[in-house]
């Protein structure tokens, strides 16, 4: 345990700081923005697509190619759909006369 903590101390600091940043960013959000924010965060975790690209890029067997291809599509859906939907929601909030 102690050993594990020590060999990963940098990552542990990073993770703790990130959690802090995430929490701080949300604390101030007005309730009107809850849904767009949820949707924007949803798009951001689509960064998992990078993992999909990596496995796709290294795939050799048909199994890996098929799964990789599917996961690239799914990841892209998450990213693109997420950002577009968020943008559409936020478009509605712009002040109108």
């Amino acid at each position: 345990m102690l050993e594990f903590i020590n060999s990963n101390i940098q990552i542990i600091y990073l993770v703790i700081l990130m959690i802090f940043v995430g929490v701080e960013l949300i604390e101030k959000v007005p309730s009107v923005l809850h849904t767009p924010l949820m949707s924007g965060a949803n798009a951001i975790h689509g960064v998992v697509i990078i993992g999909a690209i990596i496995i796709m890029g290294q795939a050799e067997s048909t199994f890996a190619i098929i799964l990789g291809f599917i996961s690239v599509i799914l990841g892209t859906l998450n990213v693109v759909g997420g950002f577009v939907v968020t943008d559409r929601m936020l478009e509605m909030f712009k002040k109108k006369k």
Binding site: L14, N42, M56, N78, G81, K97
Partner: protein
Amino acid sequence: MNKEILQLIYLVGSISFMIGLKMLSKPDTARKGNLIAAFGMTIAILGTIFLYEGIKISNYGWIFGGLIIGTLLGTLSAKKVKMTKMPEMVSLFNGMGGACAMLISAVEFTHLTHNHEIGALPKGHLLIIMLGLIIGSISFVGSLVAWGKLSGHLGDKTLKLQQVVNIGLLLLILGITCYTIMVGPPETITYFYAIWGLSVLYGILFVMPIGGADMPVVISLLNSFTGVAAAMGGFLYDNKVMLVGGILVGSAGTLLTLVMCKAMNRSLTNVLIGNFGGGGGNGESTTSLSGGHVREINVGDTAILLKYANNVIIVPGYGLAVAQAQHVCHELEEILEKEGVGVKYAIHPVAGRMPGHMNVLLAESNVSYDKLIEMEHINPEFSTTDVVLVVGANDVVNPAAKTDPSSPIYGMPILDVENAKNIIVMKRSMKAGYAGIENELFFQPKTSMLFGDAKGTLTKLVSEIKAL
């Protein structure tokens, strides 16, 4: 060299996620923030494709193919979805992310078993892969179930002893995972697929019994799950941008879930495990517990009352969304404004079935943003208001939240409509709202009920006022 540049790109991408999320949390900058995050994502993706070491040239076709298909499908569905179907859409996209994390784990597991002897698999890697698999699967299947419920394809189904089964299942999954990692038995591969299957099952059982109306909370929770699953990818590939994106969303999503629960005055456990207490008043009744009587009003009288009022506050609720009455509601507002009546909307944070539901809905029908007043700011104004028009809202105007400690919604902040001179409530019947409890407001002397579907009634109201 490539590797160094890629690191730098990931750094910029990570920062753009943080800044984007920060800007997303302020109304003025939200839209720009979304674009900044999208920019960071784009460079991170392109950087990975062109600079990541070990991507085989022959696979570029597949990668771009997948990207193009995903982009087309994603853009199309995101563009054409109706505003009221947003939560479903978000849930679906979230599920895609979960599935992606799940598949990555599956592929990486086969790599792992290829390159190492079973029984000598590196424990750290195995743990990360399995966590990614479990969380990703739950998020994937859970999101699909949530989507099904929101769009009405699935009802609430509760097995007997549901909670016991769920907890048992979760323990079983974790147990097998620990055993597999620690001991590294020869059947590791079998166990891996067993864990996968059980996780999928758990995803279904986890979301199935939760009330359809609680879905926004659940979606937010699953959203943060997918974030954590993405972070596992970050650990796996020692990839900072995945780590930052995943953990940011994981922590922000968790807090957002809690904030949403708080706005409804329910605990997360309450949402996940129990449904509301008695649900007594679900039947209809026209006399209240305290003996008050219901006073009905017709469209003609309402029209006169509204036309000759100085100021009117409209309180939209879930019923407005159900009836899709936002456009005619805006029409009513315009006509009244033309007659010199001041009209505002009182926006309760949890009116409707998702946070900001009313804002999104009314914005869709081009209601000016300045007219949407949040609860804290509008509450003092009710006492100087001539007419309050409650359109399909119920719980958010229930005074029991302030007066009756035994009520399930006791403590939830509500709109103080009962301070106004006249209150007109539009709904179809005397049935209860989401919380399933009776509403004393409907029996108060100042309140009149205008029964009927919100859209129909509002349309009649508009033509009546025009005719006056």
